[in-house]
Symmetry: C2
Subunit: 187 residues, 2 copies
DNA sequence: GTTAAAGTGGAGGCACGCCTCCACCTTAGC
DNA sequence: GCTAAGGTGGAGGCGTGCCTCCACTTTAAC
């Protein structure tokens, strides 16, 4: 955000390459991914990575901030759609961001100042959509926004046979968000 | 199963200690946990671990086999309860086994012969409960047993504020299993 | 008690990731 | 073109995990 970027052209190119590589690698391997692999993939030396991002946390935060900003923006864009449709669209975006895909579960419990603040922004953006959907009766009354977000992260981080299954499972879980609390006991 | 156990008393003690430690450590750290930590926690040398379990896979399988057997046994025990109640009880047990808790997601896609066979046993045990619940109308018709298992593993592997939230989220997701496919669009 | 078979455990070689440091290369301003 | 400030990248020290190997210890059979 207010991170001072390197000035020289090559420096800036490297900075961007690192960010891109980090986005990819974090998406594939989670927060614990090797920094050397990120540097390799960005085509820069490990020293350059450390010059730009002294700690692993700094790199991950730089990626994460971008994702969160997009998510916040999206919340505004879908606000004029019907409550449940808007909520669903936002949740889909929430799981869609590659950088957070494998790391988002871990991110939900990280403690650094920037994480706490980003999480607050993200929740602030999504919560109104949730409240509206709940008020409209599209979401059961006994769950919180946080519950839904964690459920969705867990499901997304899981492994599936193919994307169709992932989508099917996601839809099934979403149905649980809308369903009435007491599960039916037919038979 | 037909694994030949060490004969000497101390050897057997060590074998059991290793299995117990592995169960704990795999539960906490997933399949990639450090074998040296397992040996440390079992109070034996790393050499002893390798004598009993030449490959990481062997150790994990030894733990996993035990869990799967219990799960298969349980399927028989709950079979006389109402369809949905039985299914639910079994799913709870499925997520409850500590050893697989963090590792189960990974285990679902492992390729070794023993994994494939264990998975087959586990599915064979759970599938009838599922089919019965589906036939009774307690489970929506457009999902498979595999879908549900993967959803449940994903949710279980997630992180939560406390156990109450984990339970709440699990229940919410289960409601999705029973709900009708078409999500309501009120308002 | 003796003894040989069984079992032990940790040192050590290897690989890899973390992070620091600095000799060298690039850039931009002149 | 020249040059110094800015930037680079990888060698190297450290830690940790993997796995092997074998001198030593323990067991149990006699």
């Amino acid at each position: 955000m207010e991170r001072t970027r390197p000035q020289r052209a090559d420096a800036r190119r490297n900075y961007d390459a690192l960010l891109g590589a980090a986005r990819e690698v974090f998406a594939e391997k989670g927060t614990e991914a090797s920094l050397e692999e990120i540097a390799r993939r960005a085509g820069v030396g490990i020293g350059t990575l450390y010059r730009n991002f002294p700690a692993r946390q700094d790199l991950f935060e730089a990626v994460y901030v971008g994702e969160v900003e997009q998510l916040c923006r999206l919340a505004g864009e879908v606000a004029d759609r019907p409550p449940w449709e808007a909520m669903q669209a936002w949740l889909r975006a929430f799981v869609g961001y590659a950088a957070t895909k494998r790391a988002i579960k871990e991110a939900l419990t990280m403690e650094s100042a920037m994480f706490v603040s980003c999480r607050a922004d993200m929740y602030a953006a999504g919560q109104p959509l949730f409240d509206r959907a709940q008020a409209a009766g599209a979401v059961r009354a006994d769950v919180s926004f946080d519950d839904v977000l964690r459920m969705v992260s867990g499901i997304t981080a899981g492994s599936y046979v193919d994307d169709a299954q992932r989508e099917r499972v996601f839809a099934m879980a979403l149905a649980g968000v809308t369903a009435t609390p007491a599960a039916p006991h037919p038979a």
